[in-house]
């Protein structure tokens, strides 16, 4: 699968969910892949007002926290600039 997607749904999480040690708030949503899948994902944009349905997104790696000096990262989707 390629790294491109479109934004299907989006919100933000401001209260720490169980087991999560990363920064707050963070973006949360669902993107649609051209291959015909919808995927639940972190979003690099934490302000829902700055995102809109159908906009182009790309796959990135986002740092979550450090585990004894080892960085832990997650997949995430970021708005395509412009």
């Amino acid at each position: 699968m390629g790294g491109s997607a479109t934004l299907f749904l989006h919100t933000a999480v401001a209260t720490r969910p169980p087991g999560y040690r990363g920064a707050l708030p963070y973006g949360f949503g669902i993107v649609e892949l051209p291959e015909g899948l919808r995927v639940v994902t972190r979003l690099t944009e934490a302000d829902p007002a700055k995102l809109r349905h159908g906009q182009a997104m790309r796959l990135v790696l986002e740092p979550l926290h450090d585990d004894d000096g080892v960085p832990v990262v997650s997949y995430a989707y970021a708005p395509v600039a412009g």
Binding site: H10, V13, P17, P18, G19, Y20, G22, R42
Partner: protein, 381 residues
């Protein structure tokens, strides 16, 4: 399955929903069971099997309750089906009697939920670490989609909360027995856009029990379980209660609630128009509207209009959640489905006082939750 024998509700018992820090889970469950057995005039050994809905109680929750009340040797089976656990336990109990394997069956549900955002073993550890175990965020996305694809507005979500809180004022077993205004709901803190705090139900504690019997009670109105159906999801719906990581871009697949409701209507030989009242899953206000659409109380896509026309309110022809719903009762997972069933039984008996739906003869109880299992139960007087 076709019922070969009728199944009646002979006894009902509730432990109020709320927070009871000094009371162990077993004690909460025992209150509900004791009341159900007393109402049915059944003592120790007076039932053939027990099914117990519980999610967070750990090993042998039902056994511990019955140990406290006196054991009889019959099978005790603990059932987990997310928010539908009590409904799934009821379905198993009804089948025992309908098929002639038992004369009387005890069905109970109990729960002591953790506080705060609920930790669920459903989510793998990596998904927790990535922040993807944020349950209210999934509800928020579903609400956003409902609002984008139909004319449901934020004020409609608030009105659902206002309505159910108004109903709950008259329910002594509810946790939040106070009126809220549209402004208060809209002005409450945003949990996950677009959902505000007062649009979400609170996890809490409580228990409910029913004693099922093959014979109608000797006095008073007889309430019969006309249908009880559990269904789980099909692949593809990324916003189902099962909160999968991915799904197919394919819409129009029937949801667990639609499948359970269709089966229940067929089993009972009634349709949505025949229902005098409904108790439906309202984990959040958007879920309530979606539930009403999925159960056929409103046309698909017509949920916003359904709210704005006041349908589902106590003054309407088909009141929804006269108990106050989960929004005012709170949600103890294992107990919530059976508490809905008990509300319907009490309504059909005409025993609900200030929140009585006049002349109620047919009611439906609905839960849907993680798994994702949905349960639809139809009770008839």
């Amino acid at each position: 399955m076709r019922a070969v024998r009728s199944v009646y509700v002979a006894g009902t018992g509730l432990h109020p929903f709320g927070r009871f820090d000094d009371k162990p889970l077993t004690a909460i469950g025992a209150v509900a069971v004791r009341a159900a057995l007393a109402e049915a005039r059944v003592g120790r050994g007076g039932f053939d099997a027990t099914f117990c809905g519980c999610v967070y109680g750990g090993v042998a929750s039902g056994h511990k309750v019955l140990t406290a009340l006196g054991l009889s040797g019959g099978p005790i089976v603990n059932v987990e089906a997310g928010c539908a656990s009590g409904g799934a336990a009821l379905a198993l109990g009804v089948a025992e009697i309908a098929t002639g394997r038992a004369e009387r069956v005890l069905v109970l549900g109990l729960e002591k939920m953790p506080r705060g955002m609920i930790r669920s073993s459903f989510f793998d550890p990596w998904r927790e670490e990535a922040g993807l175990a944020a349950t209210p965020a999934y509800f928020a996305l579903r609400a956003q989609r409902l609002m984008r694809e139909s004319d449901v507005r934020i004020e409609d979500l608030a009105r659902v909360s206002v309505t159910y809180h108004a109903h709950g004022v008259h329910n002594p077993n509810a946790m939040y027995r106070k009126l809220v205004t549209l402004e208060q709901v809209l002005g409450s803190p945003v949990v996950c856009e677009p959902l505000r705090l007062l649009m979400l139900c609170a996890p809490n504690e409580g228990a409910a029990a029913v004693l099922l019997s093959a014979t109608p009670p000797p006095d008073g109105p007889a309430v019969r379980v006309a249908a009880v159906q559990v269904r789980s999801h099909l692949a593809g719906n990324v916003l189902g209660e099962h909160t999968p990581l991915s799904g197919l871009v394919r819409d129009g697949m029937p949801t667990p609630t639609e499948m359970a409701a269709a089966a229940a209507y067929a089993e009972a030989g009634v349709g949505p128009r025949d229902l005098d009242l409904v108790e439906l899953q309202d984990t959040d206000a958007a879920r309530a509207i979606l539930s009403a659409e999925e159960l056929g109380l409103s046309p698909r896509g017509g949920g916003g209009r359904w709210v704005r026309d006041g349908l589902g309110e106590m003054t309407s022809a088909q009141p929804v959640n006269p108990s106050g719903g989960l929004l005012s009762k709170g949600e103890p997972l294992g107990a919530s489905a059976l508490a809905q069933v008990i509300e319907i039984v009490w309504q059909l008996r005409g025993a609900c006082g200030a929140r009585q739906v006049a002349g109620a003869r047919v009611g439906l109880a609905h839960t849907v939750g993680r798994g994702a299992n949905a349960c639809a139960t139809i009770l008839v007087r």
